[in-house]
Subunit: 323 residues, 2 copies
């Protein structure tokens, strides 16, 4: 039998992961309006942008301005991404960034080398320095991410032991430093996960970290996003990163282009939860409107499905009126 959670939390990544991938920078006012619509729909954690090199990611160079313009809603966490100390300092300097310090790990050397210019082992050591950096800033690490936790385009299959080795290392480091880790994320960075592997890996992490909440960061790269979420729900997972309208992918990307790999779509997954009696705190129809706003801003059809078909509410209420 399934062990569904009663309530599932979605962390919205679209404004960052979605807009970052685009070839053009979208106006600050439009991005702020989308974020406001997402908060109005009930999302409680929204990643606004990145504080990274404007040369590497020009589309995110104005993230501070988005924070500045944005009408904040009480109770919503507006987060950001950074990859080095300069980025972290920049994030700290923007008053309303919710600093949620995470440590990040890679399962394979080639992927880590490509993304961070260091091996997976060196990346691990770097995280010890991040823990200190955050402590010096008066913050404790609250979560850990394992990237390429299901497979890696550069190395192929990733054995479960590559993940559990990281889990054990994190567990020991947190214990030694008296850090109460709240969240442990597995990221299917390049779309290798399948539902059975989701179950196997979530189960293995839970065995090692029974008191830590498990989160999943999934992409719908090969069409299994919804199946992977359903498998995770069956395991009781109640925390997902996702993107409104399935932002983060580009339908015009060439074969094998990582740009083709969008995040799981927030409103489609919210729909699934609601239909199965799982609460999310989100107003689905308002979220669908936010997805349509995202499509209008981006200016081409996006991958989300229910935003095009409409929710079932209209049909159910029409039927009630007719009855």
């Amino acid at each position: 039998m399934s062990d569904f959670p009663k309530f599932v939390e979605f962390h919205e990544e679209g404004p960052r992961e979605g807009f970052q991938i685009e070839c053009q920078t979208y106006p600050v006012a439009q991005r702020a309006r989308l974020i406001e619509a997402l908060a109005d729909a009930g999302l409680k954690t929204i990643q606004v942008g990145s504080f990274v090199s404007p040369k590497a990611v020009p589309t995110m160079a104005d993230t501070a301005e988005v924070f500045d313009v944005l009408k904040k809603r009480p109770g919503v966490r507006y987060t950001a991404l950074w990859l080095n100390e300069m980025g972290f300092e920049k994030a700290r300097s923007v008053r309303e960034v919710d600093l949620d310090p995470k440590i990040m790990f890679y399962t394979t050397d080639p992927f880590s080398l490509r993304n961070n210019n260091c091996t997976a082992g060196e990346m691990r050591d770097k995280q010890l320095r991040w823990i200190d950096t955050y402590r010096n800033a008066g913050l404790d690490v609250d979560g850990a991410y394992v990237m390429t936790a299901f497979g890696c385009n550069l190395q192929g299959d990733v054995p479960l032991s590559a993940v559990t080795d990281i889990v054990k290392w994190v567990r020991d480091v947190c214990r030694d430093r008296d850090i109460r880790l709240k969240q442990f994320y597995l990221a299917d960075t390049v779309g290798w996960a399948n539902p059975e592997e989701i179950k196997r890996r979530v189960g293995a992490v839970r065995d090692l970290l029974p008191d830590v909440r498990i989160g999943l960061h999934l992409h719908d790269t090969r069409g299994l996003g919804a199946a992977n979420v359903y498998a995770a729900l069956q395991m009781g997972v109640d925390l997902f990163d996702s993107s409104v309208a399935g932002l983060g992918g580009c339908p015009f990307a060439g074969h094998g282009d990582v740009k083709g790999a969008g995040n799981i779509c927030t409103e489609d997954m919210v729909f699934m939860c609601h239909e199965m009696g799982i609460e999310t705190g989100i107003d689905l129809d308002a979220l669908i409107e936010a997805a349509r706003l995202a499509e209008t801003i981006i200016g081409r059809p996006l991958a989300g499905r229910i935003m095009h078909a409409g929710s079932l509410r209209q049909y159910r209420s029409k039927a009630r009126v007719a009855a």
Copy 2:
């Protein structure tokens, strides 16, 4: 625990359901080439087209020509759709149509009235006449379809009893007429299904028809297609209608337009099966090439995901070479 089937069969609907929905008619030679590519990839049942009113569905008016041009592969069933006796006679007149007589049911009056100009009850009576028509042609009904088995845009939610009533009626009719029904399909015609409801309804049908193979005809209207397939696999379902490249939907369709509702994508679902150790008899990479051919023919990005990202084989073999 899951009760996965060892082998899953996909019935390919793309050449009919996908091309039928388009505003233009695509050349016979191109459609034949796609069907040949699908058969080459290992699909054993392919719906080639429809014998329906050329006024109502002009894109299928030349279905006989597609059958004529098509290079047939031994062991492959090339099927077609018809909705009235004239269509059936036309199908019979085309030598290589695999006639697989099905009876069709609707769960709600308004949907049946819209599609068939008769109530669901009248549609049921019509099926008795179809059974006779097929018998007179020397054929026995081999399958039954329940359309709108999970919900209906015109009536709203469809109670399980509306489905089980049809199942019991079919069971009794087949028993009285000594018909050995082989397949019983539930169709999520307008995208209302969710994974838990899939399990509940498949279970209920199986209880009533323990010796009949259950098939599912699913659409990815609201993004739950893959989750619904995974739930069905957990129930041991081993028969799915699907469309290469997710054909059958149109990304440019307006909100609420049924054209937005594509079938579940054959190659994405084949990928899921293979990754979980379930065989399909299909060469995934060849099928992905067929999906790309479909996209080239249609001339706009299609909904399939793995066709854009590529299979994992390339990455695994690269990794093996490097090791």
